[in-house]
């Protein structure tokens, strides 16, 4: 799902880093968001709403609430703008999530 050749843009990707998605190891690049890395890995469903409806991202610029996931144990992280970091633990969020 990554664009390799583009007529106008050149993508300079950072170094490869790995993180876990629901316990499974996934790879992404430094400098991209969690949502971008997941999408490139073929993951579209980021959360399930209160009524158990699957949700992906919608605006990708942090305006809406469609992309909330549980990251390193914290709920309601907007993964469309959250930079990916080595070793992150990313989980599908169900409902409104746990607010500790």
């Amino acid at each position: 799902m990554r664009i390799e050749d583009h007529p106008v843009l050149e993508f300079k990707r950072g170094k490869k880093i790995s993180f876990t998605y629901n316990g499974e190891k996934v790879e992404g690049y430094e400098g991209e968001t969690i949502a971008a890395a997941l999408h490139a890995a073929g993951v579209q469903v980021l959360s399930y709403s209160d009524r158990h409806r699957p949700r992906g991202f919608y605006c990708a610029i942090g305006n809406c609430s469609s992309c909330f996931m549980e990251v390193n144990g914290e709920s309601n992280v907007k993964v469309c703008i959250e930079p990916l970091q080595e070793g992150m633990d990313v989980k599908t969020q169900k409902g409104k999530g746990e607010i500790v």
Partner: protein
């Protein structure tokens, strides 16, 4: 509390130009940007811009962004705060900002609000399925991160954004199955429409989405035709095998901060929704509070840049910085705006602005000009 002369909120085309123009006049500027980078939505505009040389016509938006960022960074009197979301604008002019998770208070003498706009959306069955994305989101994923949104796309909306994003999808190697628009005519520039059409993509006016189909993510979309009263025609349904649906049905000004501080707001459909009333030099109903770009009325980025420069100049004058060429510059900016808006495609904007413009005196009671 941090005291500053001028706070510019938003580092998109309008904000960057506002910061440059005020810094040039000698003002100390604080520029707050919510993203980690400057340039706003310019970073994903891979197409050449329209307009004239003064607005960098025929240069790609992404390159215009780089030009402006470089210029801003050259000024020692501009401080840039990135990853800094303005949370609130209070009546006593105190501004609260969240930067990198921290809470910061700022006390500016003047503010230019250039927060831009957000995308409108549509309601239809399963409109929340993963795979149904805002056009801007698809642009970000593709042009900022180099990730394809999917393989086959239905574009909903044939305004400039819908047409441009369709073209960019094709450049990224993604198939666009069709572009639908409920209007009887294509809303965007026809040259954009033609360059997509000649690559074989059908543009279906008077068509809209009936429903999205899929279990965990989008698997297909059903479109149907509308009659001349905008009512769907039963039996006209077509099912398209697409894994992405891109919603591009216009923008609306991102105006929360203006409401918070108490600017007079007016609903102007032609400008995308509620906009602040303002003088021709972009001061709102409140002294020292200026606006520029899409938050003042949704338009092209070319106008946003000129408005930014004009607002920067107005704020400088308000703060007491007198530069010799102020009248000349003002005239130039106003002429540029007039040129960009004077043609047939600017008609809607002109009508909208007529409703939002107030005279200098009314905008600024007690001070005159």
């Amino acid at each position: 509390m941090k005291n500053v002369e001028l706070l510019v909120i938003g580092g998109g085309p309008a904000g960057l130009c506002a910061a440059i123009s005020a810094a040039e006049a000698g003002v100390d500027v604080l520029l707050a940007e919510r993203d980690e980078w400057l340039g706003g939505q310019l970073v994903k505009q891979t197409h050449m811009f329209f307009g004239s040389e003064k607005q960098h016509a025929s240069v790609r938006g992404v390159d215009i962004g780089k030009l402006l960022v470089k210029k801003v960074e050259e000024y020692k009197n501009v401080e840039v705060m990135k990853n800094a979301t303005v949370l609130g604008l209070y009546e006593d002019r105190v501004v609260t900002i969240q930067q990198d998770g921290n809470y910061v208070k700022v006390n500016p003498k003047s503010v230019i609000i250039t927060t831009g706009a957000s995308e409108k959306t549509l309601v239809f069955p399963n409109n929340d399925l993963p795979g149904v994305y805002g056009a801007g989101a698809v642009q970000t994923l593709m042009n900022v991160y180099g990730v394809k949104p999917g393989n086959k796309v239905l574009m909903v909306g044939a305004g400039n954004i819908g047409l441009i994003v369709s073209y960019q999808l094709m450049q990224a190697g993604v198939d666009v199955e069709a572009i639908v628009d409920a209007s009887p005519n294509i809303g965007g520039y026809l040259v954009h429409a033609s360059k997509i059409r000649r690559m074989g993509v059908p543009i279906l006016t008077r068509h809209t989405v009936k429903e999205a189909i899929g279990k965990e993510a989008l698997e297909a979309a059903v479109i149907w035709e509308l009659d001349d009263k905008w009512q769907p025609i039963p039996g006209s349904e077509q099912k398209l095998d697409v894994d992405v649906m891109c919603i591009s049905v216009g923008l609306t000004p991102l105006s929360e901060l203006l409401w918070q501080i108490g600017c007079k707001m007016e609903f102007v459909g032609e400008l995308g929704g509620f906009v602040p009333t303002r003088s021709d030099k972009l001061q709102t109903s409140l002294d020292g509070i200026f606006v520029a770009g899409d938050v003042a009325g949704v338009e092209e980025a070319s106008s946003a840049m000129v408005e930014g420069s004009l607002a920067g100049l107005s704020a400088s004058s308000y703060l007491g910085y007198k530069i010799d060429v102020v009248k000349e510059l003002e005239r130039d900016y106003l002429n540029q705006l007039n040129d960009l808006r004077s043609g047939p495609v600017g008609e809607k904007i002109r009508q909208g602005l007529a409703k939002a413009l107030i005279s200098e005196q009314a905008a600024n009671p007690g001070q005159g000009s």
